[in-house]
Amino acid sequence: MNPAPRRVSRRRALGALAGGAAGLMVPVQLMAQTSAGAPRDRVAPAGAERRPEPPFALLASWIRIAPDESVVLYMSQCEMGQGTRTGLAQILADELEADWARIRIENAPTGAPYQVTLRGFTAQFTAASSSTVLLFDALRSAGARARRMLLAAAAARWGVPAAECTAAGGFVTHAASGSRASYGTLALRASTLPVPDRVELKPREAFRFIGKPLARLDTPAKSDGSAMFGIDVRLPDMLHAAVRHQGGDGSGLGAWRCVAS
């Protein structure tokens, strides 16, 4: 009954990227907002935005689209109940033109690629209500890049220009020929294509999930006991520690010994 802790190691993620697991896994260069003054083009021009290559700190994350049509977002941010991960998934799914019902979130490993910078402080953190602000642009770009690769894979399969193909709801469609293919069936081919350097982002009036009230992705697991909290993590040979507070106001540490317990 008790679910085994789901741990996605960096090694496993990289293994999947290298072809150990079938599917499109996009190593996306994500842009983190840097200190004040970093260029952020917030002005949406008519039509799509065109985004300059950022001089921002680089972080990496992965989208994995598998042949079973699942879309997995490896999430570097903790969910502490504010709906952060659902919100980030909405951002990702929007540019990706994903089927919302297929979106799943898994924990990203820890590591330098997930560090973000806020007001000069660089670390992998979930703090200061910063997750959405720091990742908004990055996840839109990630979703758009993956979508472009899926469009290119479909266009190559059908021998039509990618510009004539459209993506929506987890499918790529070529209206003129009546062709239609799901992301899952395109993922393997898409994974062999180059990751686009530049992507155009949709204007906000075309947002499909961003700003829309959607059911939270973490609610089912929080309703059957399967949600993992820190206290639930079990690792081999794991030791437990607890803080022993001082006895009273003004008291301090007298001496300590380091012995096996």
């Binding site: 109940g81 009230p213 059911a215 697991a221 929080k222 059957d224 206290i231 639930d232």
Partner: protein, 185 residues
Amino acid sequence: MTNLVVNGQPRALEAPGEMPLLWALRDDLGLTGTKFGCGAGLCGACTVHVDGEAVRSCVMPLKEAAGRRVTTIEGLSRTRSHPVQKAWIAHDVPQCGYCQSGMIMAVAALLAKTPSPDDAQIDRAITNLCRCATYHRIRAAIHAAARGAHTAARGAHTAARGAHTAARGADTASRSRQDAAGSGA
């Protein structure tokens, strides 16, 4: 050795009889859906059913559960199909979620005895604490579970949320009562 039935399965536990049932469930049986909260029977995060009654497993010695049937959140249903779970999902009740296993178990025990509780009955029976203060959604979900309204599509939570917001002011008073009841338990 303590013999008991956990989620329908006979179990024999070597743990000391004085060990809290909660520790045996979490650490010996790996049933981590039930949470450690205060360790003093106050907050209700550790609520499980023992012979159908909601109990706070952090203050029940394992030996008291000997020969009895224990149900944890993992055993409430296999597919989140219990009416309370359906209502919880339909109303997007949890915020951080830490207290919700205990909350759901307490509510399931309440509805088994009192199928259509009014607000006063809910306040008396559900003294579990939720520090995210999701009480307004908890109450709405309890009523929904009682009505069977959970069968409505999950998308209905959006409309329900607006109604919750309107009811939030009225909930503040009852939340204070719940807190008082919880700390006095």
